[in-house]
């Protein structure tokens, strides 16, 4: 409710200011400063805390690239005819689609890919024709 009240208060202030006839340039500068202040917490997250923040972005990118490469190589070696089990990693679906763009359904799969929770940042392990990624995988990557 506090955020909503603040939203309403700021909206009304803006409405009054934008309806007025003076201080237009000053209003622009004040608006820019206020916008910078309001967004500062978000910028701190974006630039320093999140997985996509510059300090961690390279590591995050490496995880994703590794997983895509692993899926790519595994599928390519089996002519893209593999069975996929997503288990609890919903976010893995697009990456799997990227590795298997044609997504052909084949009668006799030559391998099995299992993607569990945490597969995006976790490890993959290969046992013969089975590739297991996620929480139960070892640190093979």
């Amino acid at each position: 409710m506090g955020s909503l009240a603040l939203f309403a208060a700021f909206a009304i202030l803006c409405a009054v200011a934008l309806s007025g006839a003076r201080l237009r340039r000053s209003l622009g500068i004040a608006l820019g400063c206020a916008a910078a202040f309001a967004a500062s917490a978000g910028w701190w997250m974006v630039l320093a805390v999140r997985a996509d923040a510059p300090p961690y972005a390279a590591a995050t990118a490496a995880h994703i690239e590794d997983l895509v490469d692993r899926l790519d190589a595994f599928a390519w070696a089996r002519h893209e005819c593999v069975e996929t089990v997503h288990n609890t990693c919903v976010a893995c679906e697009p990456l799997l689609r990227f590795a298997l763009p044609m997504h052909v359904s084949c009668a006799h799969a030559h391998g099995r890919v299992e993607l569990r929770k945490g597969a995006l940042s976790g490890a993959c392990t290969q046992h013969g024709d089975a590739l297991d990624c996620g929480s139960s995988g070892s640190s093979a990557l």
């Binding site: 803006c14 934008l18 820019g32 206020a34 916008a35 996509d52 697009p94 997504h103």
Partner: protein, 472 residues
């Protein structure tokens, strides 16, 4: 940590060349009166739209070219954009665009958000399997392309502009080039809107700062998501119509009919691209065109019985623009129907009124999320209120932008309420609502630009009170 954006140079040049060839051959007048960089951008837009239309079906390209020819003839009947072409775009665009491009380019080459791969997977299919592969797969229910039935242009653009690359970084570069192209069209649209009258340019900088200071905009700029480019193009289209409304006001103030609707061909091309990016794009074109038509009819109705040529053009223009979007949209829908492929996310039904309360709760949460949006939405709400406060503003360009923004908001509301239940689940449990708001954000900022720079309504001064002389 830099995207290989150079890969887009050759495809962009090819699209520009094709566009220039079509423009010169058919005399579409896409380039009229604009500077050379803007001309190249417009040729590129024409080239992309033509290739996309041809990809759907050759008949779609023929229909589109016929419409563009007709619109070029219509435009030639009235006064168009005047003046010789200059070498480069407005100074502020020359400053802002490279900064935006640098921010977009300097990032890890691998996409960092898992759902970016939804678009890039389809782009990879096109790159790996060759021209038309994505089109064929999307119309083959057994190929299981997801999301089923969606328009293909965004993924195609990522593939084309990556010069056939199939790695995450090359396809991300293709998507980045497409996003930057939309950024340029947006900035050019804002400049054209301001060029209709002699407005100061500092409000552009202040308003773009409000947009750029939103952390979520920064994230979308550096991703392969389609929502920001869609929003930028929808805003560019709105700006084009707003420039007309502005011209209309100038006509009325001057008591003359000196200005005419401009950019009709360019706006028709933007409409085609919007319809090709996402289904929302087509809905936006229709909503914006209807608002423009209402404004044009309202203004013309107040004037003399005989409408001027410019007024007639203002009425015809939204019809041409929405028809341009309708051609690829309808053709794609017919193809989906013919191949028994369903667009499950955008199949409309009876509204789920029970979903209204959770939707508004989520909307309130999203709009007041300072960390994601900064002050963008409170400022927009204030700007909408200010348009209401201003007397006589209903027929100004700011009034038009406000009406178009509200109309697009209603389109989204209807799509969520009347769409399948899984869409409402994405709204309340996923990131859909923020992505939809991203589609509105660039136009919301346009409203702020106009309000900060608009001339204030003249109010009659009260008669001066002279003190009564004392007797004697």
């Amino acid at each position: 940590v830099i995207l290989p954006l150079w890969r887009a140079a050759l495809p962009l040049a090819l699209f520009a060349g094709l566009g220039a060839l079509l423009d010169r051959t058919l005399r579409l007048a896409v380039h009229t009166g604009s500077d050379r960089v803007v001309q190249i951008a417009r040729f590129t837009l024409l080239g992309v739209a033509a290739v996309f239309a041809f990809g759907i079906h050759p008949a779609v390209l023929v229909a589109l070219l016929l419409l563009l020819l007709a619109s070029a003839r219509l435009r030639s009947l009235g006064p168009g954009e005047q003046g010789p072409a200059t070498a480069s775009p407005a100074r502020w665009i020359r400053l802002v665009f490279p900064i935006v491009a640098l921010l977009a380019m300097i990032r890890p080459a691998t996409p960092l958000y898992w759902d970016e791969f939804i678009w890039l997977a389809k782009a990879r299919l096109e790159s790996e399997q060759g021209w038309g592969a994505l089109h064929r797969a999307a119309l083959d229910a057994s190929a299981d392309v997801i999301p089923s039935g969606y328009p293909l242009l965004w993924s195609l653009a990522a593939s084309w502009l990556s010069a056939g690359g199939d790695s995450p970084e090359t396809l991300a570069a293709g998507a980045c080039a497409a996003t930057l192209f939309c950024v340029f069209l947006y900035l050019d649209g804002a400049e054209r809107m301001f060029a209709a009258t002699a407005r100061p340019r500092w409000p552009l900088a202040a308003s773009l700062a409000v947009l750029g200071l939103s952390p979520l905009v920064f994230i979308h700029l550096r991703s392969a998501y389609v929502d920001l480019p869609l929003g930028l193009l929808a805003a560019a289209l709105t700006f084009g119509f707003a420039a007309d409304v502005e011209g209309q006001r100038v006509d009325t103030d001057a008591g003359e009919k000196t200005t005419a609707p401009q950019r009709i061909t360019v706006d028709a091309l933007i409409a085609v691209v919007l319809a090709g990016l996402k289904d929302e794009g087509f809905a936006y074109v229709v909503a914006i065109s209807l608002v423009a038509l209402a404004f044009a009819l309202s203004a013309a109705g107040r004037r003399a019985r005989h409408w001027s040529r410019a007024e007639r053009m203002r009425i015809v223009r939204p019809i041409v623009v929405s028809t341009a979007a309708l051609i690829p949209f309808l053709a794609w829908r017919l193809l989906l129907f013919h191949h028994h492929v369903t667009d499950s996310d955008h199949r409309l039904g009876a509204p789920d009124w029970g979903g209204l309360a959770p939707l508004f709760a989520e909307l309130g949460h999203a709009l007041t999320d300072w960390r994601s949006w900064g002050l963008l939405w409170p400022v927009t709400a204030g700007a909408l209120l200010a348009v209401g406060f201003r007397r006589g503003s209903t027929l100004t360009s700011a009034g038009f932008l406000a009406a178009a923004l509200v109309a697009r908001g209603f389109v989204l509301l209807a799509a969520i309420l009347c769409g399948p239940s899984r869409v409402r689940v994405f709204v309340t449990e996923g990131t859909l609502l923020n992505r939809l708001l991203m589609q509105l954000a660039p136009a919301a900022v346009g409203l702020l630009m106009l309000l900060l720079s608009a001339p204030m309504p003249k109010t009659a001064k009260p008669p001066a009170i002279t003190p009564a002389r004392s007797p004697g």
